[in-house]
Symmetry: C2
Subunit: 222 residues, 2 copies
DNA sequence: GCCAAAATTAATCGCATGTTTAATGAAGAT
DNA sequence: ATCTTCATTAAACATGCGATTAATTTTGGC
């Protein structure tokens, strides 16, 4: 006996007719992407994701074995292309000059505004259960690559000879990443322009500061 | 009738004898400080704080009108001295050179390791209900002060003439703050030394990068 | 046509949270 | 001495969470 027989709106219990495609699974992944990446894993409930996807909360367990499985599945799909691009950037032996690297890195952040938020929540905040994996698979893989690039540039004479490569990676990340993770704040308290043109100026400014500093004198370095 | 009459350990119901001092209140504030500052507001439960303080959870509501009130009370006491010091740093007209400023700022972060975590959780993460107040009272007050200092240095000819003051504040914060908020990660993936000596080297390195950049060539700036 | 497998729903389970209540007993004022 | 106020406890309340279950319906192979 159908619960709401006079209205075709409410779905009946049981397997729905037709549609052999994995539509519910896709809806869940889409809803998970838009909600988890915007608000974070903790802040979004299973019921919210299910409601946004327009499906029953139990489907999360059915398809993904729970909230955490859904998050993982969605994340892997979302970060794969970004990881690929970053890895290509750092892997190519040519075009590995620091300026090009920083420009590409910052353009990736600008083109994927959810990444800085993800980094703040899942890498820099010691809360989540994903932090360990994130640090291992992300930072643990790219930071040494970056340090290698710096080391090569120092040995090639294109960077100052007595730079500590590890500390330089930290400075580079601070200069290139911090502007994006702080953007929601700096737009308000400093009037930073988050438009495409503004970001372009930010990138140019950052590259200049990183390469030549901000002092005006002829002090020379080291 | 006392519940546990044969053991003096369990506290009886009712107002305890003696002790007119606000000892329960203090215990709660202490427990709140050590837990909230280490793990964040969301991650710590009222019951946890009460258990750590060795008091009944209802006392949180009695003295502070709830978890949020306790957090606020504890925070105000904790950040007051830091805010005072930062304000003094940025207010004094003398000694406002950029190098001294960055050194002092980074020393404050090194001496109060809970501040970077607090910034990540309450300022850079758009979750909590405190974010708005934090941005207004913290970033909103210090960022313009910092920009003023930069502007004065530019006009005084001690910094490059065509620097954008707002973008320069972002770079400065990225260089000076990011190393601390990323310390738990960089110690693991880059082997950054978090000891006092290591931090001293980090500060020197950062000042040098900020003032003179990392390029080796004689390109000159601007 | 039958029957196992797949897909979906409503309902609920167990648990943790922040909060509130009612009872209780000491302190302090009159 | 009495009465109000203060400080405290144990218990429970309401809510929201992730997860699970049982029922139900369709599909697809035989």
């Amino acid at each position: 006996m159908t619960r709401v027989s006079r209205s075709g709106v409410a779905r009946r219990v049981g397997r729905p007719p037709g549609s052999a495609d994995a539509q519910v699974r896709e809806s869940l992944l889409n809803a998970a992407r838009s909600l988890f990446l915007r608000y974070g894993f903790r802040a979004v409930s299973s019921r919210q994701v299910a409601a946004t996807a327009g499906v029953n909360p139990a489907m999360i367990h059915y398809y993904f074995d729970g909230k955490e499985g859904l998050y993982r599945a969605m994340l892997e799909a979302a970060i794969a292309p970004v990881v690929g691009r970053l890895q290509a950037m750092l892997g190519e032996p040519k075009s590995a000059d620091v300026e090009g690297l920083v420009r590409s890195y910052m353009q990736v952040m600008a083109a994927n505004p959810w990444i800085p938020g993800l980094i703040v929540r899942e890498v820099l905040t010691p809360d989540g259960s994903f932090r360990q994996a994130f640090v291992r698979d992300f930072a643990g893989r790219f930071a040494p690559l970056l340090r290698n690039v710096i080391g090569r540039e120092v040995e090639g004479g294109r960077l100052q000879a007595d730079l500590d490569p590890s500390l330089t990676v930290v400075s580079l990340l601070g200069l290139a990443l911090f502007p994006f993770i702080s953007l929601p704040v700096t737009t308000r308290v400093l009037g930073i322009d988050a438009s495409e043109a503004g970001i372009e100026k930010l990138i140019g400014h950052t590259v200049r500061v990183l390469l030549h500093g901000i002092a005006s004198g002829e002090h020379g370095h080291a």
